[in-house]
Amino acid sequence: MQDQLIVRLKQQDRAAIGELYDAYGSALFGVVLRIVQSRELAEQVLQDTFVKVWRNAASYDVSKGRLFTWLLNIARNTAIDATRTAHFRHYRKTDSLDNLVHKPGMDTLNPDHLGVKEVVGRLDDKYKSLIDLVYFKGYTQEEVAEETGIPLGTVKTRLRYAIGELRKMFGESFAALFILAPAILSGY
């Protein structure tokens, strides 16, 4: 299913972008929101992301990783670029990392369907915040170490551990479920 979608994207089949949006739009929007911290800007970033994906579909190389990893990289970079306007640079520099990750009110954006929140909730907060900073927000491991005061080696070890825990939670079947979930939910 995913392979066909990739082929159609590369062939610039316009119908494919709608399907891609149905499959990944919500997951990408969640990430973008965390980075830009503004719903209005996040909407613009998400739109820009899909336009970039459409234009650069030819450059995606299946052998180098999964489609979602590629999509997330584009979304993350677009979001970070958007925050590099004067206002957001100021915002990001002055706000502490911890506040960004645990922004009051942001948690309410998380969906609580299919018991997902409970599953993720099993991951210790100290791991969760690391994953969030690096995977969702694009901080380098060095930046995380510098800002949190945790040694770089520990940051790396914890990240690896956290991903190991996530692998237990999101096996192959689970990942497939989440790819389908937004599509099912959009029907409501």
Binding site: I17, L28, G30, F50, F68, V134
Partner: protein, 261 residues
């Protein structure tokens, strides 16, 4: 690199998180391309993070999908086929058409002629080397005929004395002429030498053997002219190991006295 230690290194996680340097990225991509285990591991890490992202998904506003499709619709540049290159033109005027055609015909003719002449040259070269071989053969025969003629002249001379050489089983003749100062050997009566042995011809002068050279068993005519030695009392054939002969005879197999008078 050892696959397990590569997987344990944490580089794959760093890669999926988008944190690799360009060199690390190349290393990961090479390992993924070469080892299915590494690829499976990478895929599992990606799926885990993908699941995590899905768990943190936020539904965008309803109008978003339509907006994106609209933007793409407007932005798409038709990427239809590039115009075909114009067909190559032939020279316009009739003169040039004819000239080109003639030139082409000439080219084909010369090519054909060239091939023909090359084949002819090769066959002539073969013929030349055949003739050269025949010429060499003729020169050899002339030389042998000359020897035979000398032998006939010697045999006809009334001063020529036959010298029977006997080995007990048979006789062959040497001929000795003290007036013409010539000698010859009839090879027909000689036995075959033992394998790896050669015949040497001797004259006994003053009771001592003096070499008269090797017997040429390959001689075409069956006759061999020999150097003449004065006052030979006897002639002999010996069998030798050395193809160039020895200073004294090793094994005399035939001997005969030269008749006096």
């Amino acid at each position: 690199m050892d696959i397990q230690s590569f997987i344990q290194s944490g580089l794959l996680e760093t890669y999926v998180l988008g944190q690799c340097s360009a060199e690390e990225r190349q290393l990961v991509e090479r390992m993924v391309a070469q080892h299915p285990e590494v690829r499976a591991e990478l895929s599992a890490i990606e799926q885990a993070l993908e699941g995590y992202a899905a768990a943190n998904a936020v539904k965008p506003p309803e109008w978003m999908k339509g907006r994106i499709e609209e933007v793409i619709e407007n932005q798409s540049v038709p990427t239809t086929s590039t115009p075909a290159p114009p067909p190559a033109k032939f020279p316009a005027s009739g003169f040039w058409q004819i000239a080109t055609a003639l030139f082409a015909i000439l080219c084909i003719y010369f090519l054909y002629r060239n091939n023909q002449l090359t084949a002819e040259k090769e066959s002539l070269q073969t013929r030349v080397s055949e003739l050269q071989a025949q010429l060499d053969d003729c020169a050899l025969r002339n030389k042998q005929t000359e020897k035979l003629r000398q032998a006939v002249v010697l045999l006809r001379d009334r001063d020529t004395r036959p010298v029977p050489l006997d080995n007990g089983k048979g006789t062959t003749y040497a001929y000795y002429n003290s007036v013409r100062r010539e000698a010859a050997l009839d090879l027909a009566g000689l036995p075959a030498p033992a394998p790896g042995k050669y015949f040497q011809f001797w004259a006994i002068v003053g009771g001592k053997p003096v070499s008269m050279g090797m017997v040429d068993l390959q001689s075409f005519s069956g006759w061999q002219m020999l150097p003449y030695l004065d006052q030979a009392a006897a002639l002999a054939v010996s069998q030798e190991d050395n193809p160039n002969g020895n200073a004294t005879p090793t094994q005399v197999i035939m001997v005969g006295n030269v008749p006096t008078g």
